[in-house]
């Protein structure tokens, strides 16, 4: 059996035993390299990776975009987003669920992480939906699915990691996520309607607000809008790089939180610590994934994989489809960040070799990763919701996300069929 196959199986076994994913990857990767080369080389590689990953300038966007999202929550803007969406959509049938989708989309525009989007929106959107007697499956399913928009609508931590791995422009990737992100919102709205068509009692309408109130509610989202326009507009117009945009965005969120008098020394400290802990967790994963990737590279996986695909004699589209199927399957058991970190280094040279655009492939990867976040048995967004709302059973949430997974598959098909939807904005940048 090939060394890389043994390594992958060993890793999966360790992970299923509940070992932290990063630790498993470091163990298997380190031992694998030690056996294939020699132990000294493996140890040196470990030190090298830990050091270089910590110093990777382009990855500075990770903590800064997380900080931006956390500051926005602290400023109370997540509530404002929801209030505004509710004011405009709440009186329709299933309106609160649709408002949740809109608010998730809005929050995604200032938050780089899917988990953070889901966790934030759970706190904000769940209480009103309960008050109006929404079916828990619909309510929780909407939030879990809406949260996945966090990694497609820029800014996005996953797209940053993809860009760093594949050496694609992070700015282009961000802009490429815009149209598919809006498409995602529209299809999720359709998914809410589909649920209500099947289960008419799942969500009743709230009262219709007078126009004056609705307009007033919009003022609350001004801060989010300004921040999004500054960050993404700045990247689009070339005022700053995507890396710098993270620092500017965090600073902007800081100013907004100050202006809204939402920051005390204590709450600022809590936000910063929380951000640092999340960052460390992600970087540790990245260090592990890099070690494991080096192991499979040394073991010759890229060569074998290329030879295998050449041997299949399939057309490029069939190969791409096969890769996406692998993603969806892996996504059922792997956590999204680890999945991207593990698979992208292996697949992107193949995809590139087939002549596909790597920015487009990046968006495809994110869309399939989004599916992985809400599919059983491991759906991290579902777990997050389950931990925030203990009384909604996991099965109910998984049942609730089914229409949204369908929406995701439709979106995947549309993006596959029309690459121009993805590439139109980045290609007119600057």
């Amino acid at each position: 059996m090939e060394a890389w196959l043994i390594g992958i199986l060993a890793l999966l076994a360790l992970l299923l035993c509940g070992l932290p994913i990063a630790v498993g990857m470091l163990l298997v990767g380190g031992i694998g390299v030690g056996l294939l080369l020699n132990p000294t080389a493996a140890l040196a590689m470990l030190g090298q990776i830990a050091y270089q990953t910590g110093l990777n300038y382009e990855l500075s966007v990770v903590p800064l975009f997380i900080l931006m999202g956390n500051l926005i929550v602290q400023a109370g803007l997540a509530d404002k987003l929801y209030a505004a969406s509710q004011a405009w959509l709440g009186h329709r049938k299933g309106g609160l669920a649709m408002a949740t989708v809109m608010a998730c989309g809005g929050f995604s525009a200032v938050c780089g992480s899917s988990l953070a989007t889901a966790a934030t929106m759970a706190k904000v959107a769940m209480p009103p939906m309960r008050r109006y007697g929404y079916a828990p499956s619909l309510a929780a399913g909407t939030i879990a699915a809406g949260g996945t928009l966090g990694i497609l609508i820029p800014p996005s931590v996953i797209l940053v990691l993809y860009g760093v791995t594949t050496q694609q422009s992070i700015g282009e990737l961000f802009l490429a996520g815009l149209v598919p992100g809006i498409l995602g919102i529209l299809l999720y709205l359709a998914a809410v309607r589909l649920t209500l068509f099947l289960q008419p009692e799942a969500g009743r309408a709230a009262e219709r607000l007078p126009l004056a109130d609705r307009l007033r509610a919009l003022r609350g989202v001004g801060g989010v809008l300004v921040l999004f326009v500054v960050v993404i507009g700045g990247i689009y117009l070339g005022v700053f790089t995507a890396t710098e945009a993270a620092g500017i965005g965090a600073f902007g969120a800081f100013v907004i939180a100050l202006l809204r008098r939402a920051l005390t020394l204590r709450s600022l400290y809590a936000v910063l610590i929380d951000t640092a802990a999340t960052t460390a967790m992600m970087f540790f994963l990245l260090i592990g994934a890099t070690m494991f990737t080096n192991f499979v590279n040394v073991a010759g996986l890229p060569r074998d994989l290329t030879a295998f695909i050449d041997g299949l004699d399939l057309g490029p589209v069939a190969v791409l489809a096969a890769i996406l199927v692998i993603y969806v399957l892996l996504g059922t058991v792997l956590e999204s960040l680890s999945m991207v970190l593990l698979t992208v280094p292996i697949f992107y040279p193949i995809v590139q070799g087939l002549g596909f655009d790597l920015v487009w492939f990046g968006i495809l990867v994110v869309v399939v990763t989004e599916i992985s976040l809400i599919t059983p048995p491991i759906g991290l967004n579902v777990f997050v919701l389950n931990s925030v709302m203990k009384d909604v059973p996991m099965q109910a949430i998984f049942r609730g996300v089914v229409p949204f997974v369908l929406a995701d598959l439709v979106r995947l098909a549309i993006i596959l069929a029309f690459p121009a939807l993805v590439l139109i904005i980045p290609r007119t940048m600057g």
Binding site: A44, M45, S169, I235, G238, V239, V298
Partner: protein, 316 residues
């Protein structure tokens, strides 16, 4: 039979891989009559700045890289980054290898590896997206992307605003207009897809700057080769490699220039007067390098003069 794994961080089409390392791999196999085989790895084991360590610590047997990517570590090699070394990468590379053997190697900056060769790319010039540069006055306040090290200091002394960004970001910051221009050899402009973005090239005779590269083998691996194989490997490395590398850069530069002309980029060659003004402005950069070299016991001024003399004498 010995199998040497080469750490590789550039795409297969890059001149360093296609026209330097691959031919070298074949030459090693031929020279050792197949006793030493060379495998160039497909995926990188680490980022460009880690390549020296990757070789020195035995993660790979052989590797290549840029001295300037680990600032502070290599002081003497900065002499090959200074302005006005020469128009031919071949001449500069061969002269640089000889200088390295005679004056630089004994200081022992390359600890942990056997240096197989050192070389330089073609002369570095100024490329801009908007402003046409034909002298020092046009450079004032111009934001120029640099990779750090000597070239950063050069841009600053000339009155430009150096933007230190990794080479992977060159496309983004130039296409977006964050930088007004870039310092590069001809080859690199099309390689980084910049031929559709920059509009003007200002050619600095003999080059405004250069970059120093190494090819190295892990010391323990080197010691493990038989004396016969060591000799055979060196017969296709050292000066032979430097010459091949220089020729490859010269060819890549010529091809790059052709592509740029085809893309409608205009070229101006700086006048002798402007070059003299630039040379005057850059005296402090040279002085700083000489000072650092003196600390390692090497007369930098003499080394630079020797390098320039050898380039001048090359091929005559």
């Amino acid at each position: 039979q010995t199998r040497l794994r080469v750490s590789n961080w550039l795409p297969p089409s890059h001149p360093i891989v296609a026209d330097m390392m691959r031919p070298w791999a074949e030459a090693v196999s031929d020279a050792t009559e197949g006793r030493v085989e060379v495998e160039i790895m497909e995926a990188p084991l680490g980022p460009p700045q880690a390549q020296f360590d990757i070789v020195a610590t035995g993660q790979a047997d052989v590797g290549y890289g840029v001295h300037g990517y680990t600032p502070g570590r290599f002081v003497l090699t900065q002499v090959a980054e200074l302005p006005f070394l020469g128009d031919s990468a071949e001449a500069v590379s061969v002269a640089y290898w000889r200088l390295h053997e005679e004056m630089l190697a004994e200081a022992g900056e390359h600890r942990g590896v056997k240096v197989l060769s050192v070389f330089a790319h073609g002369p570095g010039h100024v490329y801009t997206t908007g402003t046409e540069v034909d002298g020092i006055d046009d450079l004032q306040g111009l934001k120029l992307r640099t990779g750090g090290g000597i070239v950063n200091a050069i841009a600053k002394e000339l009155g430009a605003v150096p933007l230190l960004e990794p080479s992977s970001k060159t496309y983004e910051i130039l296409s977006a207009g964050i930088a007004d221009g870039i310092l590069f050899p001809h080859e690199s402009v099309p390689f980084f897809r910049l031929d559709g973005i920059v509009r003007h090239g200002a050619i600095v005779p003999r080059g405004l700057y250069n970059t120093s590269f190494f090819v190295a083998m892990n010391e323990a691996v080197w010691d493990g080769l038989s004396p016969e194989d060591q000799e055979a490997v060196m017969s296709v490395s050292g000066e032979a490699f430097a010459r091949r590398a220089g020729q490859a850069w010269d060819a890549a530069d010529a091809a790059g220039r052709e592509k740029m002309v085809a893309a409608g980029i205009s070229f101006v060659t700086l006048s002798d007067d402007e070059v003299a003004r630039i040379a005057e402005k850059l005296k402090p950069v040279e002085a700083r390098v000489f000072g650092e070299m003196a600390e390692k016991g090497v007369d930098g001024e003499a080394a630079l003069q020797a390098l320039r003399d050898r380039v001048e004498a090359y091929g005559n």
